[in-house]
């Protein structure tokens, strides 16, 4: 039995004794195993965010107390190296928190024994726990990125079950590796085949087609989004003919609903096995199931694919409208490394454009919630309440209905401020079930001397720099008139400065 198994066994043993206290036991164990609040913390004193803090605001969901010091200790380059090899990062403390979640380990076919609503709740909890507590932060950031890029809405048909294996077995293991491998896994995943109707895309048996068309009318949905969203980007040179030919390549895949539920399977009789021409490349007839691979190879080799993926990554990590120069260097890195995601991300994270883009992104609600929980070293079981808060902000994981994924630009999220204020208040007032924060412990660790300084220090801790007078004064005035330090903390979380990253 290794350390992790021992810890998990202890935790689960304790849970059988007192189910109600299970979360507290696991939380305490996780903290004891080295993931708690450091004894001392240094609040930022400069007027601008440090490079380490900026990196953690992009490559992670904001710092857990002590993370900035850690990055500064090991150095930015080495921290990125560590994050790009997530399996080498000891993540036992987080694993302990997620150990009891069925969707994390139940075999694919047994997942069908669970109710869809339970699967969704568990998935949201699992996603939140990892985002808040995992030390493999970059991996989780990229899992979120790919879940938007290759969006599968949980509400559609079998996706209510397939989303679990999609996140666990398709997206997470491939999030930092080869883009081609990720794309291949996604394209023939049960989840995507259901979501984009690929399982209903078959060679037409109709002899007579009323309108002259190169294909006999297979289902184009998957093929169109594969070209438009997953690989090349709209208006990048492909046309309606290419979509129809790609649809022929993708025909014949079904999703089993009986013997191995959710498993994707190729049925040769449903496949259009003739020759195809996609983007000028000829795919010879008779390749059957391999047509998918041939098609994906054609797509991934296109320079438009490198640019499309690079631009999406730059929009996520750098700014809503990233400078062309960083898109070009990321795209070059993608091409040079044969489409290696981690190396492309490294290029972006170490780029001068990223360094200059401090606070240019507006946090999406998920990041707002997670970064608040992390900054305060919150203890949460991340069940119902937190997910509900995200739903009220229009950012419930897995719920975006259309294949383009949640928007990754500020404009889409500016209407969510009142819901963020409400969340901040609920959090500091302890009204979120199973979630608690202990500001006094944080204040002690930050070792502020006098009371006046507490507000400024805590604010600086939250936003990664010394607050300006116009930011600090309203909060100080509020504390002076009301003595409500808890709500003052909510004000800091509600402040415009905390909405940026």
């Amino acid at each position: 039995m290794n350390r992790r198994e021992a810890l998990v066994a202890t935790a689960l043993g304790a849970c059988t004794v007192a189910t109600a206290g299970c979360d507290r036991v696991v939380g305490a164990l996780a903290r004891a195993s080295g993931h708690g609040l450091p004894r001392t913390l240094r609040a930022p004193s400069a007027a601008h965010k440090s490079a380490a803090r900026h990196l953690l605001d992009r490559a992670a969901f904001g710092p857990w107390p002590g993370d900035v010091e850690h990055v500064e200790r090991v150095g930015i380059a080495r921290w990125i190296d560590e994050q790009l090899a997530p399996s080498h990062i000891d993540d036992d403390a987080c694993a302990m928190r997620t150990a009891a979640i069925d969707v994390g380990w139940v075999p694919a076919d047994l997942l069908f024994e669970l109710r869809p609503e339970d699967i969704e709740r568990q998935l949201v909890t699992d996603t939140l726990l990892r985002a808040v507590y995992s030390r493999r932060q970059l991996q989780e950031v990229l899992v979120g990125f790919w879940l938007d890029h290759f969006n599968v809405a949980i509400g559609k048909s079998l996706c209510s079950h397939l989303e679990a294996t999609y996140v666990r077995d398709v997206i997470r293991p491939n999030a930092l590796g080869s883009f081609r491998s990720l794309l291949g896994a996604v394209t023939t995943s049960g989840a995507m085949l259901v979501y984009l109707d690929g399982r209903d895309n078959r060679r037409s048996s109709r002899r007579e087609v009323p309108v002259p068309s190169p294909a006999e009318g297979p289902n184009e949905n998957h093929a169109r989004e594969l070209l438009e969203l997953h690989t090349l980007g709209v208006r990048s040179g492909y046309d309606q003919h290419d979509v129809m030919e790609a649809a022929r390549c993708l025909s014949g895949w079904v999703v089993d609903e009986r013997w191995a539920p959710g498993r994707a399977r190729f049925v040769p009789e449903r496949h259009d096995d003739g020759a195809k021409t996609v983007l000028g490349a000829t795919l010879p007839p008779g390749h059957g199931a391999r047509d998918v691979d041939l098609l994906l190879d054609v797509l991934v080799r296109r320079p438009e694919c490198a640019t499309h993926v690079a631009r999406a990554l730059c929009r996520h990590f750098v700014s809503d409208d990233p400078p062309e120069s960083v898109v070009r260097s990321a795209s070059a890195s993608f091409v040079r490394t044969g489409g290696h995601i981690g190396q492309t991300v490294r290029t972006i994270l170490t780029s001068p454009e990223l360094a200059r883009a401090v606070d240019q992104k507006v946090k999406r609600p998920f990041r707002f919630v997670v970064s608040a929980l992390r900054a305060l070293a919150a203890e949460t079981h991340a069940r119902l309440d937190v997910g509900d808060a995200l739903a009220r902000m229009g950012h419930a994981p897995f719920r975006w209905p259309t294949p383009d994924g949640y928007p990754d630009h500020a404009g889409a999220w500016l209407g969510t401020l009142p819901a963020r204020w409400a969340f901040a208040l609920a959090l500091v007032e302890g009204r979120i079930d199973g979630t608690s924060v202990e500001p006094p412990a944080l204040v002690r660790a930050l070792a502020t001397t006098d009371a006046d300084d507490t507000t400024a220090t805590l604010f600086a801790h939250l936003i990664g720099r010394r607050p300006r007078a116009d930011e600090l004064d309203p909060v100080v005035a509020y504390v002076e008139t009301t003595r409500r330090r808890d709500r003052a903390l909510a004000l800091m979380l509600a402040s415009p400065a905390f909405q940026r990253h």
């Binding site: 309108v211 009220r392 950012h395 969510t416 309203p474 909510a490």
Partner: protein, 377 residues
């Protein structure tokens, strides 16, 4: 005089105009859609050409049976249908076509803006106020991008109930934090607080049961409440999804079609005479292929329909330059051709119905043609 309100209902996903308002007894449609064209549509009578035009041959079009709740409005002359309408965006991409349509030709760039936003900035009258434009949901649609102020809400009561209204000191601090900076977050925060203050003064009203329990009905009920409260609402946006019927369309379309029709019928009944000051525009980013696919659904096509409901609409008519469905008339690979640009409809709404004198700035680079959709019947 109460504000005139535009309510834009955007059918996201590409609603099938050929199923919602199909030609009656068309043998070509039956051949193109052997499994889909089964239920008999509700006859609407012969179509009309756009005003002053002659020559394009009229067609007999009908209404999808699930749209039956809209028939009374049509017969009362309050609902007009425009067919074979669409945009010049031939990508057949949901996202590209939606963005293009909502920005009405102005591409995303340094100052991206939507057509509703440009209308609110250029129309005559007092400065737009806090509740001039409201997006029902959690985000601002492209049509309202760069609007003077947009309130985003799913429910007036929920927004008002947020704790910030119960602690005046907190409310003051929050206002100070959002200062007067010309910054999107500061501005959004100020807009939200102003909207909450204004809404807190409106009286909650009992919601008509006819709206049902679905989000679309609830959204319309919120808009009706804002119209009745006379808060100066000029533009409201509501999304309705579920139209991307690549699969088993004959059943997949029933629910969104019924939801749309029941919602609009409840809205009309709820507002009663106040409907005179409201125009509902129903639009979608693309239509669907004329022939069905192997999954008994339809793939992305070109032209679809738009609906106009409310005061000043010359209703009870279907206006179209019907392009027909025979192979030579379809746009390859088999799509209903766009013969009316959506901007002609919107420009007439803005120019004729709302009396804007700066239609050219709302739809830059577009010379609208007259369709005769508004005015006295």
């Amino acid at each position: 005089m109460p504000a005139q309100t535009i309510v834009v209902v955007f059918l996201r996903g590409g609603a099938d105009g050929l199923a919602l308002v199909p030609p009656m007894d068309d043998p070509t449609l039956r051949r193109l859609r052997p499994t889909l064209a089964s239920r008999r549509p509700i006859p609407l009578g012969p179509t009309l050409c756009p005003s002053g035009e002659t020559g394009s041959c009229p067609a007999e079009l009908g209404l999808h049976p699930e749209l039956a709740p809209l028939v009374p409005a049509f017969r009362a002359g309050e609902l007009a249908i425009v067919h074979a309408v669409g945009s010049d965006d031939a990508t057949r991409s949901h996202f590209d076509a939606q963005e293009r349509m909502e920005r009405a030709g102005v591409r995303a760039g340094s100052e991206p803006s939507g057509w509703l936003a440009r209308h609110l900035r250029t129309r005559v009258g007092p400065e737009p106020s806090t509740l001039s434009s409201v997006a029902i949901g959690t985000s601002v649609p492209d049509s309202l991008a760069s609007a003077p102020a947009v309130a985003v809400l799913e429910s007036v009561d929920d927004l008002v109930a947020s704790a910030t209204t119960r602690d005046p000191a907190l409310r003051r601090a929050l206002a100070a934090l959002h200062g007067d900076a010309h910054d999107p977050i500061h501005e959004a925060g100020r807009d939200a607080m102003a909207a909450i203050d204004r809404l807190a003064r409106t009286r909650p009203t009992r919601r008509s049961r006819a709206y049902g329990v679905l989000p679309f009905g609830r959204a319309l009920a919120e808009v009706a409440r804002l119209v009745r409260a006379d808060v100066g609402l000029e533009a409201a946006t509501i999304d309705l999804g579920g139209w991307d019927t690549h699969l088993a369309q004959s059943t997949a379309l029933d629910t969104p079609a019924r939801t749309l029709a029941e919602g609009l019928a409840a809205f009309r009944a709820d507002l009663g005479d106040a409907m005179e000051h409201v125009v509902v525009v129903v639009m979608t980013e693309l239509g669907r292929r004329a022939y069905e696919n192997a999954a008994l659904g339809t793939d992305h096509g070109r032209a679809s329909v738009m609906l106009l409901l409310g005061g000043g609409v010359r209703g009870g008519r279907v206006v179209t330059r019907w392009p027909g469905l025979d192979p030579a008339s379809l746009e390859p690979p088999g799509d209903l051709r766009v013969t009316i640009d959506y901007r002609d409809v919107l420009a007439e709404l803005v120019g004729v119905r709302l009396g804007s004198t700066r239609v050219g700035e709302v739809f830059p680079g577009w010379a609208p043609g007259a369709l005769g959709l508004f005015g006295s019947t």
